[in-house]
């Protein structure tokens, strides 16, 4: 799975977007594209605008200029739930699970866009709504199996350990059957063992489910190991892009990370 050639059509094209909050420029004319099947990673120091890019893609933030295209057509100005329906799923940096619901209900909420039973059919527990509950339960059970969270099924997520919550959040995004999955710091705050588990899940998602991945991460070891291409941001500007090895050698990147030659050294938040 080397970086794919120029011939492949881009799945997601971010074209010269800028996002300002009053006088603060969070994203400053950033462009990149994500090709089908690749694992594209965005790195950069804190406050570089990585999460803002995710929020712009899901249209939670509306960039003031530039264009974001999904499979060739612009998604600028659409509602976040429409973007989700197009096949873009994401996880969040700080866990944003539905904390009073069980693991099962969280995953089933991920299936929301793939279900179509009306609320009347649901209220009367008849027809499509009833059948759907059972069909989609089966699909959700596959994801529970995939992520090895069988034991937590019926627990309210607020009571689960952090590492498991991260996994449930990944599961909720997978339940949406996305074409592209955006992971916002999937291993933040995890120990080595949990990080390795998560890396394995990410690779399996790519290999077995064929989902394109866009990842923001501070763990340089993980990024350099599994990413196909890396984009580096600093103060909202793109300062480098290329394969992990190329990026590591880039003097701009080295300068951005406090002038240190060791990327890992500046990793601590």
């Amino acid at each position: 799975m080397s970086p794919s050639g120029e011939s492949t059509h881009a799945l997601l094209e971010v074209d010269d977007i800028s996002l300002r909050f009053g006088g603060v420029t969070a994203i400053d004319s950033v462009s990149f594209e994500v090709r089908p099947g690749e694992l594209f990673s965005i790195i950069g120091p804190n406050g570089a605008g990585k999460t803002s890019i995710f929020n712009s893609i899901s249209q939670v933030y509306r960039p003031q200029s530039g264009d974001i295209r999904w499979k060739g057509s612009s998604i600028m100005g659409t509602r976040p739930d429409r973007v989700a329906q197009l096949g873009v799923a994401r996880t969040f940096q700080n866990i944003e699970l539905f904390s009073h619901m069980t693991v099962l209900d969280n995953l089933l909420t991920g299936r929301h866009i793939r279900m179509s039973g009306s609320f009347l059919a649901g209220a009367l527990w008849v027809g499509k709504a009833k059948r759907e509950e059972i069909e989609h339960r089966r699909r959700v059970e596959d994801i529970i199996d995939f992520l090895e969270i069988e034991g937590w099924r019926k627990h309210p997520v607020a009571l689960l350990p952090y590492g498991i919550q991260k996994r449930v959040e990944l599961g909720r995004a997978l339940a949406m059957d996305p074409e592209m999955l955006m992971l916002d710091e999937p291993v933040a705050g995890m120990n080595l063992e949990e990080t390795e588990d998560m890396a394995r899940f990410i690779l399996d998602i790519r290999r077995e489910l064929g989902i394109t991945l866009l990842m923001v991460e501070h763990d340089m070891g993980l990024v350099m190991d599994i990413a196909d291409r890396v984009m580096v941001l600093d103060f909202g500007r793109r300062i480098s892009e290329g394969s992990p090895a190329e990026v590591q050698r880039d003097p701009n990147v080295i300068a951005a990370y406090l002038g240190s030659t060791e990327l890992d050294a500046s990793d601590a938040e």
Partner: protein, 416 residues
Amino acid sequence: MLGRPRLYTAYRQEAQLLPTWTQKVVCTLFVAVLFLLPFDLPVINQIPVVRFLGDSDWMRPMALLMVLAIAALGLNLLAGVAGQVSLGHAFFMGVGACTAVYLGGTSGEATWGHSLPIWVWLPGAGVVAALVGVAVSPVAVRLRGLYLAIVTLGLVFLGIHFGNTSWGRKIAGPPALGREFPGLDVRLWKEETPLINVEDDGHWLWFDVTDLQKRYLFLLVLTIAFTLVAKNLTRTRTGRALQAIRDRDIAAEVMGVPEFRYKVIAFAVSSFFAGVAGALFSALSQRILATDFGLFLSVEFIAILLIGGAGTTSGTLIGTFFVVMVPQFVEEFTKWLDRAEGGLTELLARVLLTEGDDFGIINTAIQTPGWTLSVFDWNIVLFGALIVVFLIVEPLGIFGIWVRVRNYWKRWPFSY
């Protein structure tokens, strides 16, 4: 086949409303007791509490209980499940009541009415209330928390004002103005003899039933239907979407749940429940006073949710029972004390009761001079205290206490 508890071999099994045999049996028995409660059967009369709830004196509080339960289930969907705390629920009940009287009542010289049958005015009251809910929701959807509570509170005062206008009096004018309020009789259209007579004593199947018992059974069927609808909504796609919005609204949107649409649905469904309850309320009480649907009723609904357990269907029902019945119990208790002669009870009566001038804290005098509070006032104090206690000690309400008791026995003899 009983099978092991919590061992499911098909998703269909697990998706049932009452998955275990114990739940099925207990629930069937409970519903059977509810249906037989108003009749003077030897078996029913052995069960404590239930014994006297079936007496004809208690049929009125029981009817009120069920009407408020339907409305509370609606508010639970909005405030408990979707997290949008509304103080305007009494207003939507009032809208339902007015619609019911306008559609189902007779017209008089000073009033409007169409004398339509119950299958028009009952759903009609719900639909009109729901439409008003949808009309309000574009404003309400943009607010949350305290701001939403204040805005919806404004609706209550608008409603009271409307009730005092000439239009309000024409729509909801009392029977004293020479009109009839709708009853619970089921008619095909406007014919003289109803298809199902609910308002007079008579025969049903092989039984003699009084009008009170008939009304009780009629309301019980409706309440069970609305409970099932509320429960089903909560556990299917719509309910999950609403809970998602309650817990994390932005994450819910990013997961593909259109926030605006679902909040409007929550307002509409909750107002529908309130409208139907308001219609039943007007048919039972045969009067509409704008002040009946005031702030106190709205606060009572909030008390029901907080005491019972917000977000849970069974908790809402328990909460309604608590809030409606506790004042009745307190009143009965005071009467019982007042009548007590000799022994410990009379001593207790001397300590607690007063006519206003001597030692005691509960005033039983008709007029209330002096500082001591009447039974009614004590009930208000009691609710206030209970809301505070539940918020601090057990935010999940009585339902939360039940979960703790259940878990204790589940893992007994271990402590966790």
